[in-house]
Amino acid sequence: MNDDLMIDVRGLHHTYTHTGVAEPVLHGIDLQVRRGEFLVVMGPSGCGKTTLLNILGLVLSPTRAAALRLAGREMLGLGDGARTRVRREMIGFVFQRFNLLPTISVRKNVALPLRLRGLAADGQVDRLVDRVGLGGCAHKKPGQLSMGQQQRAAIARAVIGEPALLLADEPTGNLDSANAAGVLELLSDLHRRLGQTVVMITHNEQLAVTADRVLRMCDGRFVD
């Protein structure tokens, strides 16, 4: 076991079954990501990127795998409660569709991970909201923000708890180029400051330049 690895995945397979029809999407993936590394995974739609990210984020259980270790701890076989705790303590998510809770304010959205851990949220949240450029919108509901602002709020929510692993699924997929550049810059900046391990999925070649490493996927496998 290598203590320097944040992610250590071996022999990962996943198959979706719809109405009795099996649809394999991941075929024996092996993936190792160092602590603090910024990894970009690229590939065409439907190649299995989001499935891989969901499995790494423990929101989806793989059909079969030899190992799935996060920070050196084996995740295979963990119960729902233990997986929930790992998500809460260790992992931050940034989604393509932002996935902010629409009924509460930006500030409360950002504070949510801290609240779920039972931590006080006041100064830290305000500072982070300011840092992502939403200081004037903290009281607004997500629906009152532009898409770029919503994604910045989602990033703030993902990093507020300083998770060891940040998973970003097409974070710029719904943004225009100016907003996309801003969001990417924000992610890079936070990565530099906080030193988190980042796995980002995209099919935007321009975004890959910020990464420490780029992996390409096709038909459920990494390709050269």
Binding site: T84, R88, F93, P113
Partner: protein, 408 residues
């Protein structure tokens, strides 16, 4: 969780309000039905307790509320007076009551036929606020009892023209009513007003303070003449005991003397007997308000379940952020309890409104809204709300976060 639950509810204000209103209606039904039954029974009991007596003698087969007719004969009254120990008769006074019915102030009232000589025992410390007590001179009674009146077929109050003509001089002294202040106020009655009872025209001659056993009193002998052609019968008796006697022991002595045909009860236990008489009515009201409440909580279940379905994606987000299954159940429960709490508040407000409405329409009814009933409403509301949320909460907890996140 409270913040999220509150946010979810305020995001759907109308639906939340309708759900709370549904619970409120159920709670109101429960409070008003309990308050109406409890209030009316408590008021009747309080009035009965005002009689200066310790025992009540009733026909064994009668419901205590619906005692009717005149099953006790003259022999019963004589027997009651004769029951004695070594120090003499147990009864200091035997107080016969002959019940009738009269329509006054828009509803049926129980008419208490009492001996004018014993009216003081019914009044106690209460004052005559207007007019007088009836026929204190016993003009009518003595004329009837002396046989001095010329014989007319059917008796003096038979309603025949001959009787009316023959007894006109004396009838006015028998056909008198004394009412209580509440009935006078509600019916806007005044002294001298006439009331038709069983074919005879009675006149209101006196008003007494509220709290006496009956709302309407008439002379005992008059009712006996009208209903049973003057036979000395009674519907029930109060017994005022000799001061040295212990009521329970004395009641046992009377009961042994009369056997199973007669119920001798302590007046102090009249309230319990009333509640027992109304047990089946209470059961019916409890059952009907429970059904109404169950329907209301089904409404909450549907509301919370709809929220779970609508918020599938948000629930997926919460799971991804690390909210446990129990946390999602708790979220559903908190939402439902908040709706229920609002419903209880609405229900209590509606119950006060309904009480005002009932008193407006039926001023002689008493709706007793007590702290005990409010506490029960809060407990039922909170528990019912929490139970209603368990299934939607379970569904939320079972959501697959990956599927929920891809939910449109």
């Amino acid at each position: 969780m409270l913040v999220l639950a509150w946010a979810n509810l305020t995001h759907h204000k109308l639906r939340t309000l309708l759900s709370a209103l549904a619970v409120g209606i159920g709670i109101m039904l429960m409070l008003v039905s309990r308050g109406l039954a409890g209030g009316s029974l408590a008021e009747v009991n309080e009035r009965m307790q005002s009689v200066d007596a310790e025992l009540v003698v009733l026909p064994a087969q009668d419901n205590i509320i619906f005692t009717s007719g005149a099953p006790f004969r003259a022999s019963h009254e004589r027997h009651l007076r004769r029951v004695s120990d070594e120090r003499g008769p147990l009864a200091a006074a035997v107080i016969p009551v002959f019940f009738g019915q009269v329509q006054m102030a828009g509803q049926q009232q129980r008419l208490f036929g009492v001996d004018p000589e014993q009216m003081e025992l019914f009044l106690g410390p209460r004052r005559v606020t207007a007019g007088k007590l009836f026929d204190r001179a016993r003009v009518f009674v003595e004329q009837v009892e002396s046989g001095a009146l010329p014989p007319v077929s059917g008796g003096p109050l038979s309603g025949s023209p001959q009787a009316a003509g023959a007894y006109a001089e004396y009838l006015a002294d028998g056909l008198e009513l004394v009412i209580d202040e509440r009935l006078r106020r509600v019916g806007a009655y005044g002294l001298g007003d006439e009331v038709q009872i069983m074919g005879q025209v009675f006149r209101i001659v006196g008003v007494v303070e509220t709290g006496v056993a009956g709302r309407v009193f008439a002379p005992l002998q008059t009712l006996r003449e009208i209903v049973v052609a003057g036979e000395p019968t009674a519907s029930m008796y109060f017994i005022k005991l000799r001061p040295d006697l212990e009521p329970a022991a004395a009641a046992d002595v009377f009961q042994r003397q009369f056997g199973a045909d007669v119920r001798v009860e302590l007046k102090s236990e009249y309230g319990q007997l009333l509640r027992a008489s109304f047990a089946s009515v209470n059961l019916y009201m409890t059952a009907s308000s429970s059904v109404a409440l169950a329907a209301c909580f089904l409404f909450i279940l549907l509301t919370v379940y709809t929220m779970v379905i609508e918020h599938t994606r948000e629930l997926g987000i919460l799971k991804a952020l690390g909210v446990s299954r129990l946390g999602l159940v708790r979220l559903a429960v908190v939402e439902a309890v908040l709706i229920s709490a609002g419903g209880v508040a609405i229900g209590i407000a509606l119950a006060f409104g309904a009480r005002e409405l009932i008193v407006l329409v039926k001023p002689l009814l008493t709706v007793d809204l007590t702290a005990k009933h409010f506490l029960a409403a809060v407990l039922i509301g909170v528990l019912g709300g929490a139970l209603s949320a368990l299934y939607p909460g379970y569904r939320a907890a079972r959501l697959d976060p990956a599927q929920a996140l891809s939910h449109e």
